[in-house]
Amino acid sequence: MGADTAIAPIFPNLLAFLLLLLRRRLLLLTLPVVGPSRLLIASSSLSSTPSVSKPWMDKLRVIQKLASERGSSARIFKAIADPPTTSLQRLKGLTTGGLPTFIDVGNSFGAPAIVEDNFIHQLVQNGKRVVMMGDDTWTQLFPNHFKKSYPYPSFNVKDLHTVDNGCIDHLLPTLYQEDWDVLIAHFLGVDHAGHIFGVDSSPMIEKLEQYNLVLEKVIEVLESQSGPGGLHENTLLLVMGDHGQTLHGDHGGGSPEEVETSIFAMNFKKPPFSIPPEFDTSSGGHNLDGKKMYISSIQQLDFAVTLSALVGIPFPFGSIGRVNTDLYALGSGTLNSEGTNLEKCQNQSELEQWKQNYVNVLCINSWQVKRYIDVYSASSLIGFSHEDLLQIADVYAQADKSWSNTTKKLFLHQNECSDSLLPALKMQIDLYVNFLTSVAELARSKWTEFNLKMMGTGFGIMLVSLLIHLLSIKWVAKQYGASFTCGDSGISLGLIVACFVVVIRASSFLSNSYILEEGKVANFLLATTGIFKLRYTILRKKMLLEAVVFLLLITFCRFTIEIGLSKQAVTSQFLNAYPSWIMSIVSQFPAWMYIAEVVPILVLILLSYLLYKTISSSYFVGIWKYMIMGTILSYMLIAVHWASESGTWSLALVSYGISRNCIPRMIYGIGLGQVSLLAFSQLFNKDKGLDHSKSLVVKTVGMLSALSSVVILLLGKQGPLVALASIIGGCCIMSLGNMEHEAKDSMSDPLAVDPLPVTQWNFLAACMFFCTGHWCAFDGLRYGAAFIGFDEFILIRQAILLTIDTFGFSHILPIFALPFLVARQNMLSQKQFILMRLSQVYLMYGLITATTVTVTMLCVTIHRRHLMVWGLFAPKFVFDVVGLILTDVLICLASLFYFGRVEKDVQQNPSTEK
């Protein structure tokens, strides 16, 4: 839905020759050596330019030659991009005219098609034929837009030549063909050469020289056919880089080297006039020979609208750019001047005509931006502030009012030739430019600014929260005379290992690679603690089996995590070929499918058998027994649901349409009923005074069974397996922790709390997050889970289901299961003692989570201009913060539930902010 603007087409043919990474410096770096007066100009326009001549500078000589010889028909622009300076983001910015926003986070890894309105889309809508060659990111962004495309794989950074040679092979023949209107050639060699060898290397220079040759040939062809009636009579050539690069060849950040690129625009007709000085934003530069050369500045934001105006198509809907004066002026050479009396005042009218046109374009441009801003702030939750909007509306109203005056004047003087129009037009242009500039500034400040003060405050709050956690752990311990340490030997080994592992995991988040492989890192550390425990068991000659089972479980987790990570990789652009062979394996072995259907149901039956065995023990009496029977019933219902869904078994009893939504809703109902029953009994049931640890176990089992059915249902067929794995893992951690405790019981004070099992519990929970096929990105959410049992979308309900699915096994169940760590350890101890331990365990769990989140915050702060900030760090940060808030809320709930009226441990809920 483009802004329905109608602009006179200026360039029927447009040749966007996208030379990736064409550095501005490569063209202009000879400036500072010329002379003192020129040095001033150079230093003002190129502040980041080193004054030393480097071999890679000055290699695209043809551009400089043209820019200095052709005067106003060939220009070099300094194009300023918005960070992040990655190809995908930049291409999006170039074609949509918008700023990179948080919305891009959703599809960070892949390069999905651009769904927003964009320049290419408008071209196609308006019947232009677009031909693309080079980087295959274009075909991913615009899958159905190109009439012809010659994509080449872009991900192999080490390959300097495939893309470029492919481009060159197709470029020159295409130039002689008539069947296109817009040609895009995207070269990648310079980018890759920079990544691999650095800017200061011979491959880089070779590449640049190659480009120089290609450019020369292209210009030669275009020149030869640019005569009247020729094929390229109205062709505009644009040579541009989508982003710069640092001296090491990296890009993605916001440093001047990365942000500043250049655009070379060339029109093969000489414009009849030169731009009046008051509009001319360019600063004159001089090349090596001392000839004058025009250098203007253009925001990359403005690129989409300016080209739209030049080609004569509607502006992209979401663009906030402004039609650039200089680039637009380049088109004036082909301006169709119909309907005006040129004969009267030849000297003035062309300029005036151009100005009128420009004002027209700016008027539509402003109207389009204003409409976008209105729509945006009406639909967005966190739009612009009221004052900002008012101010913008004010500026726009002023410009609009003046516009109606100007048009009146224009109509009055249509057939005359007078000088009075020019100042009015100039004022009008100024007003529109003012409006558009202020909108762009506002948008930029709202969308890409990092408030360091607020970030610091948030970080400080997290630090304070960590301190409070630590102090309260100590305080609780002191309250009951316990000490953290083991005997009088100082700090126990378990504590050291736990701290070490937690710190290592936390600090691993400082690198993006480890965030990407977070599941593997958590698993690695969990396995390390497992091996550490195995050593203990060897020493004690006890529970060797548990330790080995635990290690085997970790190995199992590890393979599941790898499968999950490969799923993540599938969505990325690197491994698009991946799912095909998985599918082929599945299709080749139908037995495999059958097993995949049967195993979850069998495991589900096993789980219900375990539950049944648990309640048949003497602890569970009365209401608890019936409640857990309810869970077993839900398990059976889940099994029936899956069986009916798969269609492998034809179930004659249930008609498909009813059961599909009916059974899940029944399960939700049972789960909700169980949880409310538990809360109810907690409120009104008196403590019967029986052994507290037993009642704690009963409560925990009740709570877990109530929650588990819903979680398993939402997680789908992997649910039962993961549940079984977490039960086994939990049991192993518990008994291994007990062994430690029993050993200590004999000598040191029995109050010591070992942090290692709590740490392992936390890590196991983290592993479970990745085992269940999630990862910290918005495309890692399993949206399908939100629609189990419901067809229509209601925000809150579906959000709750999605949260349960995402955090079920990693946050909800582990936190409610934590009392197991305490309850089994000392069955005969008094109540106060168990509660003290429980609160300590909960505090430790909170501390571990908070530590991780704190370091994640620090990392995001450090890397806020990193290449992957929207792709990796921001989602990770969001997931962590949501996880932390959920953890703290759940800890509060759990402590309310388990502590009852005896004591309410006050948990702090650290608010986190950016």
Partner: protein
Amino acid sequence: MNYTKTFLSVVCPWNRDSAPSPTYKTKSTFLDPPWQPPMNQSTAHTPRGDRLIDREIKRSSNRKNMKANATTSSVKFSAEPEPEAEAEVSPSSPSISALEALSVHLISGLGLGLALLLANNVYSVNLVSHPSLTLLLISVIECPIVILLYSRHRKNREECSYLKAVGRGLVGLPVGALVNSLGAIALGAPVGTQYFLTTIYWSLMMSLFTIVPAVSVFGSSWKDWQRIFAQTNCRPIGSLDFMICLPAHGAIIGAWLGAWPMPLDWERPWQEWPICVSYGAMAGYLVAIVVSFSLILVRASFQHDKRD
């Protein structure tokens, strides 16, 4: 002259299988500065003397009610209070002098270096370009060195012949490789046909660093294994324990640390499994060898001072 003889006897242990232990003399001459008169037999302490002194220190510092037998005393480890931790030290337990320790360490370390050098110069492969071949070469060269060297210092010399020790070392090699590879897979080593051979060779090398020396020396004595691999709070008693325990732990910790660069996106060839893990293991092994030897030296000089 004396030195060369000892060196020969170290390298060719079968020459002196029945000899009592002439190394004590050489040890004293080796350790004492040349201007001092050679120590006579009475002051040169026996390994049992070592151990008794150790025990005395411990006993006086720790548990006073502990019963001590004059000949075969049980040792209670100080910080670890568990009852099973009493290690029986049999009278025929192996003893080792600083010089022997040095030569064992030196030869195994040099063997490693030789293997790397051979791979680089003769076969012109290295760990980065041909990881499996290089690891195989290291294993092949280290295997006889480690088994033959450590079998010389086997425990229970009366019951266990040299050949038997070598035999159990050879049996321990694949078993240790299995244990190591399982551990690596639990920690996240990649599995797949293209990694199969390299994982095998890597685990053979790790087995030579960790399990094989212990198997050659201790056989299947559970208590010794416990002492070597599971004890953390008390230091090993004899020099031989140092020599087995420290390099094994060094190799494992080095490999653990070496795994950390693997996920980084530097796209260097050495980040592949198991190249940096092997580098880490070798580095850890070599560092631990140095530490082990210096600890033995310190201990020896400490006891030397104490005797004076």
